[in-house]
């Protein structure tokens, strides 16, 4: 079980809700993935479009994780978080402060400032974070129970480009709930994240952008289960040379 903020979850996948071809495909993909936590953005809306059958109504059965996507500064992110809390009745916030337009890498200074202010204001902050150990540890020191480092740029689908580094980050923060957020492209990336010991994976484009989002969501579900099971089973260490798996005793010798 995955525990976040004293709530328990069976699924270790979190899914974004953007870029799906339709609300129906989104709905079916979320079900196929088995996810219980979904992210949403906060924008100006016309409340007349928020009734039955709306996006918001269709997601009510999930734990909603509002994000501050599109915010560059702590000030913008804090304002968005406050509106999200009022609109959705949750104190969870996926905190994003973008530092660079092309890579969408986070701005650590703004991220840390916003985290500090939001935690003081009673929020449960899940920060979208750079994957350097120093920033992730600083977020933990500010009181984050969950930290969500990227493994590659948002929407890039590059996957875990530096597994050795992501392993070191995992080892550096053994008591923190670490979620790989951003960069996932394929099920093998998800499996690797769990093999490395990560607690959960958050993805959006990898599912929404697939030819069949619903089938890809199901593939991701199985990938997560396989990776987590492998991690809990104790993966054998890599070795330079062969070790025979068949017994050498009782070998048959030719006559003559």
């Amino acid at each position: 079980m995955l525990t976040i903020d004293n709530k328990q979850f069976t699924s270790r996948l979190m899914l974004g809700t953007a870029r799906y071809p339709s609300l129906k495909v989104l709905d079916d993909a979320l079900v196929a993935s088995g996810t219980e936590i979904v992210t949403v953005s906060i924008r100006r809306v016309n409340p007349a479009n928020q009734g039955p059958g709306s996006f918001y109504e269709s997601l009510k059965r999930y734990t909603l994780l509002p994000n501050t996507a599109g915010c560059y500064t702590a000030k913008e992110a804090i304002y968005t978080a406050q509106l999200a809390r009022e609109a959705l009745g949750t104190h969870w916030i996926k905190l994003e402060t973008i530092g660079d337009e092309r890579t969408l890498y986070p701005a650590p200074k703004e991220l840390l400032a916003a985290t500090k202010a939001l935690i003081a204001d009673g929020f449960f902050v899940l920060p979208y974070s750079p994957n350097d150990i120093d920033t992730c540890r600083a977020l933990v020191d500010l009181g984050c129970e969950v930290v969500m480092p990227l493994c590659a740029p948002i929407g890039s689908g590059q996957g875990i480009v530096d597994p050795a580094h992501m392993q070191k980050l995992r080892d550096a923060l053994p008591d923190t709930t670490l979620v790989i957020d951003a960069g996932i492209g394929r099920p093998s990336d998800v499996t690797m994240a769990f093999e490395l010991g990560y607690d959960a994976v958050l993805m959006n484009t990898a599912v929404a952008g697939a030819m069949s989002p619903v089938r890809m969501a199901e593939a991701m579900k199985h990938a997560a289960i396989a990776g987590r099971l492998a991690y809990k089973s104790g993966i054998i260490p890599r070795k330079q040379y062969a070790t025979s798996s068949s017994p050498l005793e009782g070998m048959i010798e030719p006559h003559g």
Partner: protein, 67 residues
């Protein structure tokens, strides 16, 4: 004038947030959105009592698809 989600509309003296919603054709009981005036969140419980001033900037926000 007041500015609501980027649109300028006439200011009506003593209009509350709740009354603004009705004027705009929104059901104030609808769940899932929030209001801020001049960058300050107005709690739902205050919608019937907070009155809009001329040149106020009102943001009405809700959840949309996001990653």
């Amino acid at each position: 004038m007041i500015r609501v989600n980027g649109d300028n509309i006439p200011h009506i003296a003593d209009e509350t947030v709740e009354q603004l919603f009705v004027r705009r054709g929104f059901d104030p009981q609808q769940q899932g959105f929030a209001v801020a005036i001049n960058g300050e969140v107005v709690r739902r419980s205050q919608w019937p009592s907070v009155r809009l001033q001329n040149s106020d900037v009102v943001d009405i926000i809700g959840a949309v698809q996001g990653g």
